[in-house]
């Protein structure tokens, strides 16, 4: 896309400075969590008192925390797999088939993105109480599945729109059944999207707090556990250590997912496949 343009945009100016400042605004506040998690003091304040791993040790020795961690990982994995399956099929349906009512259906599926979390939380709490299902990881899982599926679908739609529909048509014309077309053509081409969707929906479930807060019975997820610990000032350094770990994992997982997904899209535009 290199053409001589009459539109001259300076490369470095006030806007570039602003962009760097903006990134600092986004990232620096969060960086205080890992910074103070290594600080050898019960108080989260300057001056720093010296390096310690004490809070990480306390974190690793807390049973409640390890249970919550296990719950969150279990939940995240199940939600990621189910949301990605649902999202993939839904994305395939809306990108590949001409359907009446396609617009309203997409709007309906995207609704969880705009309904305030607290409303969904109490609505699910009410229905769980009234139907006698009771609160457990299962109810949190249903809530997380509902909020993750639209994201999975968005990721998959952008991936499926990225490659040529004719490849699937060709497979069909050559006599493959829909299932075999899916397995041999659609799936391999959609794989980067699927992996990105798995990682991103896992992170959504892993970090989600509001629904989990209302729907947690006796089994807490990690964010719910953290919320409980925040009330105790003496527990705060341990919360910082845990928060630093969670941020670290989320950053790595999401960065990889985004890099993998967007790189895939870029390859597509370059090579035409």
């Amino acid at each position: 896309m290199s053409f001589v343009s009459s539109v001259k945009e300076p490369r470095y100016d006030a806007l570039g400075v602003y962009a760097v400042l903006y990134l600092a605004f986004v990232y620096i506040p969060v960086m205080f969590l890992p910074l103070f998690s290594f600080n050898d003091s019960i108080f989260i304040a300057f001056p720093l008192q010296g390096f310690t791993l004490e809070w990480y040790k306390q974190m690793a020795n807390s049973d409640g925390l390890l249970d919550a961690l296990y719950n969150s990982i279990k939940l995240g994995c199940v939600v990621a797999v189910l949301a990605t399956i649902l999202g993939t099929f839904a994305a395939k349906a809306v990108t590949r088939y001409k359907m009446p009512g396609r617009g309203p259906v997409i709007t309906f599926i995207m609704l969880p993105l705009v309904i305030p979390g607290i409303i969904m939380g109490i609505a699910l709490l009410v229905i769980a109480n009234m139907s006698g299902v009771g609160l457990s990881l299962f109810t949190i899982g249903l809530g997380h599945l509902m909020v993750s599926t639209p994201f999975a679908m968005l990721v998959m739609v952008s991936r499926l729109e990225g490659f040529d529909k004719n490849l699937e048509e060709a497979s069909k014309d050559l006599g493959d059944s829909p299932w075999s077309t899916f397995r041999r053509v659609t799936f391999p081409l959609a794989l980067p999207g699927i992996i990105a969707s798995l990682l991103l929906t896992f992170t959504i479930s892993f970090d989600e707090f509001i629904l989990a807060f209302f729907l947690a019975g006796n089994e807490a997820t990690l964010p719910v556990y953290i919320w409980g610990q925040m009330r105790f000032p003496t527990k705060l350094p341990t919360v910082l250590a845990l928060g630093a770990c969670i941020l670290m994992v989320s950053f790595v997982v999401v960065t990889f997912a985004e890099w993998y997904r967007r790189r895939g899209v870029q390859l597509k535009t370059n090579s035409g496949v």
Binding site: L15, V114, G117
Partner: protein, 311 residues
Amino acid sequence: MTDRVAPAADVIAHIPRGPIARFRRALMRSEALSGYTMLSPTLLLLILVMALPIVLLVMFSFWTQNYQDIDKTFTLANHLKFFERSAYPYLLGKSVLISSTVTLLTVLLAYPMAYFIAFRVTKHKLIWLILITVPFWTSYLLRVFAWKIILGYNGVINSGLIELGLIVEPLAFLLYNPFAVVLTLAHAWAAFAILPIYVSLEKIDRSLLEAATDLGDGRIKRFIRITLPLSMPGLIAACMLVFIPTVGDYVTPNLVGGTSGVMIGNVIQSLFGRGSNMPFGAALSIITMITITVMICLFLWGTRSFRRRVA
């Protein structure tokens, strides 16, 4: 489409019959049917886990809490209670005001950033995009918590300023007020505003900008006449993505708001907690949702008439 070769008689003889086989063939023939079959698990999930609970929540708001039990006789008492005590409308109004401020601030701060990535960044666009997207996916609770330790009485800013010798006593006005809520929310929702604006800016046909320049428009005139109107869909989406969830937020006001920063979400949450009056909580949340919907409709109507006037 290529000509289909007429199937030979022996092939026709082997086409399976019976209702299941016929359904499968109809499925493969009709695009709409196969589309909806693939959508059905998702739609079923959303009907059961999203639509049904909300319908039930609306019904619930017409019932009464009787200690542990729920009295299911129809009543408007919960909704009327909202208007009887001025504290509730005031709190909802305050929540809307805080959210509107947050939305305005977030979008204004995000626009130049999105513009920068869309128009200035040429080489490492992927890195910039990832840098801006990653916070979008990471723990909301922790991002809010970070501000609590930053703004706290003995927190990062106060202890840092004391350490530098700039102040003697900690500044008490940093935490536990509406300002802290606005700042924290604007930070926590930053990425949600950048992405839609970036997408709409990226979609703008660059030749339109060239045409404007060739016809003698300066940078500012070009921005107002071309870039801004064409990025309106992204701006509108960004406003909605930030405004809707923040009105009902209770995490941020709970952690950094204090008594003066209380929002409607805190009341709703407490009504579902220990001192429970769930039907009244349901009524409050329904009223909140209706208010949000009305605000969004007014906003969309306003931006539409604005765009029509510009066009």
